[in-house]
Symmetry: C2
Subunit: 420 residues, 2 copies
């Protein structure tokens, strides 16, 4: 019966969340598109609005030293460890309005609902809006959550944006003290768990006909660049048998990556997103071809095994075609597994709201990847139309926003700390 | 015996030719690289030098209305029809020094040799240095030979170069009258044949261990652009089975083109020289991929059949992958077959100089493609190192230049008009 009542009570949550999503989306670099970059004027305006919402929800709220908006709803007594909820409030360029804000606004709405009902829990609830997850300005992601997790790399303070402004300088202009970033860090004892609600950014829930899903892990990623070098030549005069065409070699590699991932049954995905052939003339056999590869899987072991297999196959293709090969790993993110005890509670909340429990890895990166260094993590993902994200056409139905909020609220109310 | 004497007499030809190749190569837009573009100051200086060489060889020489350098060595009596020899004296940017000049300088050297020996033939010999074969300045090739063949398209006079200078204007500045281009045209009755010597621009003669080859045909070419459109998506969140990746589709097409041409035993070649994937980020599944295809074969029927087969296969790949396809033919050159009666005489000259007769199609385009409209055509190709052309490292050994000259001289001296 409690379930039914909670469902009824929070049905209004979806609409309120969507109103705030739109309100926050209006705070942008330009009225023509949504872009809200770390430590800009609009970033500050957004922080101020979120702080207002947090306070309205009965929370104590402040901006921390990296620009995260942080709020706390006390539990049954002061100084209890907290269940931390959050997501980010920066955006990519020409962004959708749901990526980040949905999780943050939903969390605030859940707390507001608790407060409206005068409900205090045997733990505190904290909500964090991370200042920079996307990493657009300084090409370094998860800045906000790394500061909270205590893993912020201070060397990044000297990074400069495209206008030459260092992060140190930008923080100062924003009204923050770069020397105090350490104060944003939290300890493991203060946090019972970190739970994030986020749009799926993929098409799986839509294909499954489900509004919400339970994340099993934030998949790690390995990114590589490959450069094949053969021999450029005249498109008309070099017989096929005498060619050392770098692009046909690259094409074979791309096909192989696709095949390798398609044959995998455990969530391996591989993407070639960039390609370039040189000299790049219609009548010249390419002497050089470069491409990127992005590989992700729900576990590190699985991904690393796949990356190794792929590298061997690329080497074999290059050798057979007499192409020289430069293959570099440019980026590697370990997998951030969601804690099974937390995932089980999220699944209970999903089932409690009457939805089929569906587990999926998150292929997209999230603040949980940093937060795992200071807390067990869990994630709820919400269906988004067509799986489209990082695009103005990113969309979440109000009913799905509502479903996500109901699941999160139920999770909070029924939350038991690990082993508790 | 005559053969042996001719061989000895012309052994000096190779060295003289290489000296002139170097002299002409010094006339460039810059001392740092070789670029000699249609109707520039250096183009004019080159024309003047070539005219001098022609006159020294005992020929009557003039610049025609499109800028071709034209010279005539009379036969046993005035006004006889001519065997026309030629090649072009413009270059691509950052060119090699042999592409074009080798054929032109060799032809002048052969005439000089005839004249030195006081040899008159039962036909005239004409030598033409075509003003623009490469088409760098106005993106329209074979301008010089089209004017001679009477197929010059006067609309090209309004084309503008990258600085906005029209061809009409450039001709006038060069000292020519664009309204008189029609006077450059020759009639079929004036020409017994057109024979061009040119570097191979491919690696086949090198692989065969031969200094010269007999061209069977200048292969036609069909050029296409393909654009595949699928659905962009996040590299981490879209499972392989739900992807409509435009680039993996393009990669499959590239592999198919290669396979189709490799399986062909009659000289079909296919090249994808340009490729582009959009949006072009390492972590985004390409929603769009574009590429060019260049297909050539020794006969039109063969090429057209192959192009049709290829288009069907691309359509099938696109359909199977649920990609939309835009496939356009952007350019088509018919095959220019060499006249068998002329090819037979060239083969005799090759054998007469002691070389194995080896026939091959020319995959590269040449002035013969235009000249075929006014005369039967024949071609001799000379080995170039590594098959490299359109590059400063383009190289012909002096011995091979000599071999080419001996073959051409023997051909001229033994030339019988068709049916003669």
């Amino acid at each position: 019966m409690v379930a039914a009542i909670a469902g009824v009570q929070s049905s209004a949550l979806g609409e309120a969340i969507v109103r705030r999503i739109n309100e926050l989306a209006a705070i942008s670099e330009s009225p023509d598109y949504l872009t809200r970059i770390f430590l800009t004027r609009e970033h500050r305006a957004a922080a101020d609005l979120i702080l207002t919402w947090m306070r309205e929800a009965g929370m104590r709220a402040h901006l921390d030293a990296i620009g995260n908006v942080c709020a706390r709803y006390e539990g049954e007594r002061p100084d209890l460890p907290c269940l931390m909820l959050g997501s980010h409030y920066d955006t990519v360029r020409d962004a959708g309005k749901w990526d980040g804000p949905l999780g943050l606004i939903t969390a605030i709405s859940c707390v507001a609902d608790l407060r409206r009902r005068g409900k205090r829990l045997p733990f505190a609830v904290e909500v964090v809006g991370f200042a920079d997850e996307e990493g657009v300005r300084y090409s370094s992601t998860l800045l906000g959550s790394r500061a909270v997790a205590g893993t912020f790399d201070r060397r990044v303070l000297d990074a400069r944006d495209k206008d030459g402004i260092s992060m140190r300088e930008a923080l100062t202009r924003f009204g923050l003290n770069p020397d105090r970033i350490g104060t944003a860090a939290r300890t493991r004892g203060e946090l019972l768990a970190y739970v994030e609600l986020h749009i799926e950014q993929g098409p799986v829930l839509e294909a499954e006909g489900l509004p919400v899903g339970v994340v099993s892990a934030i998949a790690g990623a390995t990114r590589l660049t490959a450069r094949l070098t053969g021999m450029a030549g005249h498109a008309g005069t070099v017989p096929m048998a005498l060619r050392r065409d770098a692009l046909t070699g690259a094409a074979e590699c791309i096909g192989m990556v696709e095949e390798l991932c398609r044959a995998d049954e455990d969530g391996l995905v591989g993407t070639v997103g960039c390609i370039d052939a040189e000299p790049g003339a219609a009548n010249v056999i390419p002497g050089q071809a470069s491409f990127t590869i992005d590989m992700r899987a729900p576990t590190d072991v699985h991904r690393q095994r796949a990356v190794t297999a792929m590298m061997r196959r690329i080497e074999a293709i290059a050798a057979r075609r007499e192409l020289s090969l430069q293959l570099d790993v440019t980026h590697e993110n370990r997998t951030a597994p969601c804690a099974p005890w937390l995932t089980a509670q999220i699944a209970e909340a999903v089932a409690g709201e009457g939805f089929r429990v569906f587990e999926l890895p998150s292929g997209a990166g999230h603040d949980g990847m940093a937060m795992i260094d200071v807390a067990d993590i869990g994630m709820v993902v919400v269906r988004c139309r067509g799986g489209i994200s990082h695009n103005p056409s990113e969309h979440v139905d109000t009913a799905d926003a509502d479903a996500g909020a109901r699941v999160l609220l139920r999770l909070i109310e029924n939350f038991r700390p690990r082993g508790g």
